[in-house]
Amino acid sequence: MDVSYDWLKELVDVPVSPEELMDKVSRTGIEVDSVHRLGDGLKKIVIGHVESVKPHPDADHLRITMVDTGEDELRQIVCGAPNVAAGQTVIVALPGARIGDNVKIKRGKMRGVVSDGMLCALQELGFSNDLAPKAYDDGIYVFDEALKPGSDALAALGMEDAVLDFEITPNRADALGMRGVAWEVGATYGNKPHFNDQPVVETGKPIADYLSAKVADTNDAPAYQMRVVDNITIKDSPLWLQRRLWNAGVRPINNIVDVTNLIMLGYGQPLHAFDYAQLGSKEILVRRAHAGEPLTTLDGNEHELTTEDIVITNGEKPVALAGVMGGLDSEITAKTQTVVIESAMFAPTPIRKTALRYNLRSQASARFEKGVDVGSINLALDEAARLMAELGDGEVATGTLSASQVPADPEEVDISLDRINHVLGTQLDEATVTALLDRLGFGVTVADGLFAVSVPTRRWDIHIEADLIEEIARLYGYDNLPSTLPTTTMTVGEFTPMQARRKRSRKLLEGLGLTQIISYSLTTAAKANAFQLEPSEETHVAWAMTADHETLRRNLVSGLVDAVAYNVARKQTDLALYEQGRIFPRSAGHTQPAEKEYIAGALTGNVIQKSWHQAAKPVDFYYVKGIVETLLADFRLEQPVQYVPTKRPDLHPGQSAQIMLGDEVVGLIGRVHPRYEQDQSIPETYIFELNLEALMLADRSEMTATPAPKFPSVTRDIAVQVATSVANAEIEAIIAANGGKFLRDTRLFDVYSGVKVAPGQKSLAYTLTYRRDDQTLTEDEVNNAFAKIVAALETQVGAQIR
């Protein structure tokens, strides 16, 4: 809401500058975003009187004017505007002037003729085309009243007036009119507004001679009031009215339309004016539109209406979309002689929906959506009729049509002093609270700490205690509230086990060299589908802004791959990244996806860069497996973790595995499929992905202490030659099963396949560690235990022991 400082001062005493007002009102009521003046940056622009006009000898489209700018001699100015004529009062930019777009005006010659300044259009002073009156679109602006030559044109145009940009929140629609703003500013400084309302004088025929009005459903239009003004002359509005409009960002059209806009700006009550002669009947009926009923709105667009639209009809066909836009047929035109003014209250929701449906949101619909002051509906209507009659030389028909109305009774809200202080943490007394409420113009009676507050209709946002407490708090001043911390019974603050585990897992990966990223949960369908631990259904958002962010992710790896690609494209090739976040798998038949906490990583390039002291170490499957093993070891899982080779389109078929806990897939590890790498423009990249929730829920071993061993351990190395198809896990399982109770540890220290073993064979070498906790092991005990392992390996996997 653009608030004119000059207009505001007519309605209430404002003891401070616009800038101070901006700051103060922002702190106590409504945020004011900025203060600007239309004339900011302009200078040396004065009123001129065109004394004579003659043709330019060398240019058909130019005229030579002699202009009185209040100096001793007339000023010769060459002008290209087709509408320039002797006798006009115009805007003159003097030499040295600065006009719109920071253009400087200099004395110069135009086609050989000296031009000592410039006659201006409003657009040349920075007005946009949809703000400057249309009548002067092709030429200079001409004042329709006499002004003193040489006087300040910016002042005459109201361009030195400060305009405050009030950011009206949905609850403060009362300040969508200057009167509401005046009340707010008045309450801020303890001044009551003064409105100087003048009575409407009815001199015309009874309104019933013109028209009847009816509302089909008063839920749609709880209040519907009309007046008629007859015998009017359509013309430009006087300068004072045009000024008000353009300072509020509204384009002047003609005296009738301008009055409806002025009243809307002043009272917050949108009005509509119909050309009575074009209504085509003597009745108005407000009803829902029939499905498919046509209406051409005054922007020239045709609409097929729905039964959700409220329309104003002439008894047969729609003449306006209620509260949103008038119809083209009954628009006020230069020929209009009789005006029907509508002042109403419409149901907010249908108005909002209609405005959205036809993309016709306007200042009027915005106000109806948020509600209007039932106490101003007729005040606004009367003032509109009075002004139209005055400015259009017409007469107001006698009486008001009232198709529906709402009583303008104040709302009574009770509140106790204790309640106020209890909520605010203050110790306000009765007198203070009473004074604050009085500043708002609320009626207050108080007895024994209980206030009965009578809230006028202009503050229809206030119904309950909390509403009053807010008014009191903001006017009392939030700066004056004490600062305390809550005093309650003690509560325990601690993370849930899942929260603690997520944080711990993050720290662990960071300790292992992985940097955390946060990627988008919404991604492409293809990316959402890849790298899933188990298949699930897609979930899409409706009306996605872009296909890049339209499907809920069901894996974290895709986002990491994106980050790898982003970095690699920027020559960052050694990467170790992880993300911890949610994935959204959906089961068939459900509309809502599940949300599961995952953790995943992606590594590419070198984990150690070559330096003077270290050899480069490129990442490989086993490096990433080491990260996963370290992370999983931290869970102390009861069941062993198994790595089961897997073949899937997104991972290398020979270098990837499902991570299994019993029958459950809890993770994935492996190299990204080279074809996928190529598609995503990333180099060789290894990933892992773990279902943190599944790991959290899995059985875990208790942590119990065992004393440090008192007796020495004995080690034996064993080299096992087997077929290359035999997995290390098989051999370790045989060793574990046959190791005996003294075998404490098995560690693989060499894997060899080459010239020293037969083709199709490989050799794995392990160090076995034996120990007894009650005495030192004997040589025989170790030899016997070792022999069992050897025998088992020979029989079960055909191993040769070397």
Partner: protein, 350 residues
């Protein structure tokens, strides 16, 4: 005492002391020791002459000879230690390295700056006895809006453009629905509700430097029988001082959120210019950092909490905005692109 023998012994001492002193080699020193103290030692030779001496002279000369022997042994010992030390010194000297060469590269990852900020805020409130509550990111319209006093077609829905999945489901546009969910299940007979809820939220925005369709919020809620707006102010003041520095001040300005009343926006005094005015605070001395208010009675009632007995405050802040302000980050997309050069500059503080 025989002057001959004595002179001879003193001569021996003098000669050998000189040789010991001049020896720079441990082997040579050892040779001297063997020569001097072994069977063929010149001292022994000298002592053979004792038999030619008087009976009473013999012990004196013998004692003198032993004295000289002891002196030379001590000299040998001292010299050997010196030579050994020199050898060690020389060896260590030869092992000198360039300590200015760089150390080995260690593996160290960096937590994301947004998680750092959220972790910090979580720990701050955990210390004050708050719970951290997680809520769903795919939320029901019911919790995201209706329970929060934002019915369908409420103009406040314009303030947020929301990603809907279907009529009922949406990507939560705020963390506030966690308030409603927690209020619904909290057992007030067991004590007050003090919670925060951090997490991702989504808005139907086109990504640019200042807009992101995904960002983060931290919601806070305290409900009990005697929670005041002064408590809100004090809580936010301590938070602002914790995050932005001990000298910070805050101010509350009236605002509007459907789920709180009174509603306020909270400014913190500018941590760059300390309130004098600079580009960060747009020359106002204050920076808007969060929204807050006293929980609207409708929100309590909707969740089945008696609004006549219980009340309290709620606040919501944006870690993305906090980080952008605190570190001077001018493009919100930086948080989500995963550029290692951007992410690794934020080493953890404290």
């Amino acid at each position: 005492m025989s002057m001959d023998l004595k002179t001879r012994l003193e001569q021996l001492r003098e000669e050998n002391q000189k040789r010991i002193k001049e020896t720079t080699d441990l082997d040579a020193l050892n040779q001297i020791r063997v020569n001097l103290l072994g069977k063929k030692s010149p001292i022994t030779e000298v002592l053979r002459g004792l038999k030619n001496l008087d009976q009473d002279e013999r012990p004196k000369v013998g004692a003198f000879a032993n004295q000289i022997k002891a002196d030379l042994q001590a000299n040998l010992q001292t010299r050997r230690e010196a030579l050994e030390q020199a050898a060690i010194d020389a060896k260590l000297e030869s092992e000198t390295i360039d300590v200015t060469l760089p150390g080995d590269q260690m593996q160290e990852g960096t937590p994301h700056i947004l998680d750092q900020i959220m972790d910090d805020i979580e720990e701050f409130f955990i210390g004050q006895g708050y719970q951290v509550v997680d809520g769903p990111e795919v939320e029901e319209d019911h919790y995201n809006f209706e329970m929060l006093n934002i019915p369908k077609n409420h103009p406040a829905r314009d303030m947020q453009d929301t990603f809907y999945i279907d009529d009922q489901l949406l990507m939560r546009s705020q963390t506030s629905p966690v308030q409603a969910r927690t209020l619904e299940v909290h057992d007030f007979s067991k004590g007050p509700l003090k919670m925060i809820s951090p997490g991702r939220v989504y808005r139907r925005d086109t990504d640019d430097a200042t807009h992101s369709h995904q960002f983060h919020q931290v919601e806070g809620l305290v409900i009990d029988k005697h929670i005041t707006m002064a408590d809100l102010k004090g809580t936010l003041l301590t938070l602002a001082q914790h995050v932005f520095g001990a000298d910070r001040k805050i101010r509350l300005r009236p605002s509007y959120f459907p789920f709180t009343e009174p509603s306020v926006e909270v400014d913190v005094s500018c941590f760059r210019c300390n309130g004098k005015g600079c580009a960060i605070c747009k020359y106002s001395g204050w920076i808007e950092v969060l929204g807050a208010g006293m929980v609207h009675p409708n929100v309590l009632t909707n969740a089945g909490v008696d609004a006549d007995v219980y009340g309290g405050f709620a606040f919501g802040l944006g870690p993305d905005r906090f980080a952008m302000l605190k570190y001077g980050i001018d493009d919100i997309r930086s948080f989500y692109q995963g550029d290692l050069r951007f992410l690794t500059q934020f080493k953890e503080e404290g």
